[in-house]
């Protein structure tokens, strides 16, 4: 098969990401060759790669990519990341860590006369809960006195989404997903109350920034603006100021959201939790999924069990902002290879951006090697009115093997969902569930894990 260009890699003419036989390459075009050579000579990239802050690169022969790299000056190979995620799927703390990584890398580079040409949040990916900078063509020599051209981009893609949550208590995910280039500073400025505007960093990066943007849109002083010069000391001061400020940002409010305390106050006894834990471990030890998707991961309890038993990487999905933060902080604290992401399963991330292919949808990033859907199905089948058969079809389509939990209608958790509404779910039963599952996969093992009748199904399509 011939090498082809990644559908999200076209904005920067310096080069692009190419794929060949499940390997990842990056071309360096003649336009960027001199910058590529001089930044590599400083040794800073090697240092940052060795520390794991920047993804590794290895020069390879151009011939490897054939005609696709005919115009390129250089070709490098990167290790393939097992899962690509986007800033609108990250938790607050993941976005915060990504922002801090960007600033740290930039500051380290400036010490060696190197700067970053952009500040795209999409240039950061996660290995478990650890952010890594992936665009090795963003590095170029710093020219004394130049402005931080990517300041606006940094604000829109990192700072403003964080402030939305920290100052207003609004999670960034839905807005960011609809506005792929980030949250515009003018819009955030309009939303902030006067009290929030009175802090110096907000005044500077949001209020004044938005005001100047408005004024300049009216008067268009473009010729003069091109003459602005930023001494390196001021450049560094902006980056350090942002870093020190972002470090202090936390989500607003007490973080009391619906399912956050689920792991502690759910309706099963600890015996049930232990049976589930053992079942998940048995599954993970047998299947050893390189990539596991944990749908409805909550605080990452069962991802942890699976990782300890043999799964290599778990991507957790949940719609509850509080649970996501806890899962992410747990992954960091306990050194788990787990990345929890925001997902409303009734409306998963779509393929979008240019040509509707720039950022991939959830389905386009499937299949995983294994899937967990514990205490998950009823949230779609009952709370969201999705027919049970559709839910089973969707979950089974995510991976070749997995564990699905079925929760009976008389279970207290399902009754809670039905408390204020009519029971219109005649079809929601164990029999229909099993029928739907059998139609799509082989049932490898079933175990009842609660006295109330909750059951785990280990399925297998291979």
């Amino acid at each position: 098969m011939a090498a082809y260009r990644d559908s999200g890699s076209f904005r920067d003419p310096s080069g692009s990401v190419m794929m060949l036989d499940d390997r990842i390459f990056r071309t360096v075009m003649p336009l960027a060759a001199a910058d590529y050579e001089s930044t590599r000579r400083t040794g800073i990239l090697e240092e940052l790669m060795a520390e794991g802050l920047v993804v590794q690169e290895r020069p390879v022969s151009r011939e490897l990519l054939g005609a696709a790299a005919a115009q390129a000056s250089y070709v490098v190979e990167h290790p393939k990341l097992p899962f690509i995620s986007y800033p609108y799927e990250w938790s607050f703390h993941a976005l915060k860590d990504a922002a801090l990584l960007h600033l740290d890398v930039h500051l380290r580079c400036l010490e060696r006369g190197v700067t970053l040409s952009d500040a795209s949040a999409y240039n950061i990916q996660f290995r478990g809960p650890a952010p890594v900078f992936i665009d090795t063509l963003s590095f170029r020599p710093y020219r004394e006195g130049e402005i931080w051209a990517a300041h606006r981009q940094f604000c829109d893609q990192f700072l403003n989404p964080l402030l939305l949550r920290a100052l207003l208590g609004i999670p960034h995910n839905a807005w960011y997903r609809g506005s792929l280039e980030g949250i515009p500073v003018e819009h955030l400025a309009n939303a902030l109350p006067l009290r929030a505007k009175l802090s110096w960093p907000v005044l500077q990066h949001v209020v004044l920034h938005a005001m100047l943007e408005k004024i300049s849109a009216k008067d268009r002083p473009t010729g003069e603006a091109a003459k602005v010069r930023l001494p390196q000391i001021a450049f560094r001061r902006i980056l350090v100021g942002l870093r020190d400020w972002i470090r202090t940002l936390e989500p607003k409010g007490s973080e009391k959201t619906v399912w956050r305390d689920y792991a502690e106050i759910n309706s099963y006894s600890s015996d049930e939790a232990r049976s589930k834990d053992a079942f998940v471990r048995e599954f993970a030890a047998a299947v050893r999924p390189a990539l596991l998707w944990d749908l409805g991961c909550n605080t990452g309890e069962y991802s942890k069990a699976a990782l300890e038993a043999g799964a290599r990487l778990s991507i957790g999905f949940d719609f509850d902002a509080g649970a996501l933060e806890r899962a992410y902080l747990r992954a960091k604290a306990e050194d788990l290879n787990l990345l929890p992401l925001h997902l409303d399963a009734a409306n998963p991330s779509p393929s979008q951006g240019w040509g509707q292919g720039e950022r991939k949808g959830m389905r386009e990033r499937a299949p995983a090697d294994g899937v967990l859907a514990l205490a998950f199905v009823h949230h779609l089948a009952v709370a969201k009115n999705v027919p049970l058969e559709y839910v089973v079809d969707w979950v089974v389509g995510m991976a070749g093997a997995g564990v699905i939990e079925f929760v009976q209608k008389d279970d207290p958790m399902v009754q809670e969902l039905l408390r204020l509404r009519a029971d219109i779910f005649a079809d929601y039963s164990e029999e229909s569930f099993e029928r739907a599952l059998r139609a799509r996969a082989r049932i490898h093992r079933v175990e009842q894990v609660s006295a109330a009748g909750r059951k785990l199904y280990w399925f297998d399509r291979n």
């Binding site: 100047l212 943007e213 010069r229 001021a234 902006i238």
Partner: protein, 72 residues
């Protein structure tokens, strides 16, 4: 002694202003930096520049006072 410390600082100030006024930054980015952000950075640079200048002059004012007190 006095001569040798004031002259380099005067030269530094002159270089600083010359650079501030005459330097024209070419656009290196493939990214549009957005005018509002550029103007903001101009202001920040102005404040930073002003701080540098004030600090330079503050040293000289202090030296001047010290001299005056020494003479009195």
């Amino acid at each position: 002694m006095q001569q040798s410390t004031t002259r380099p600082s005067r030269v530094r100030t002159a270089i600083f202003f010359a650079a501030l006024l005459a330097w024209i930054a070419p656009a290196y980015a493939y990214l549009d930096p957005a005018t509002g952000s550029i103007l903001l950075q101009g202001l920040i640079a102005g404040i930073a520049g002003l701080t540098v200048v004030l600090r330079l002059y503050w040293q000289r004012i202090k030296a001047l006072f010290r001299r005056m007190i020494g003479q009195a």
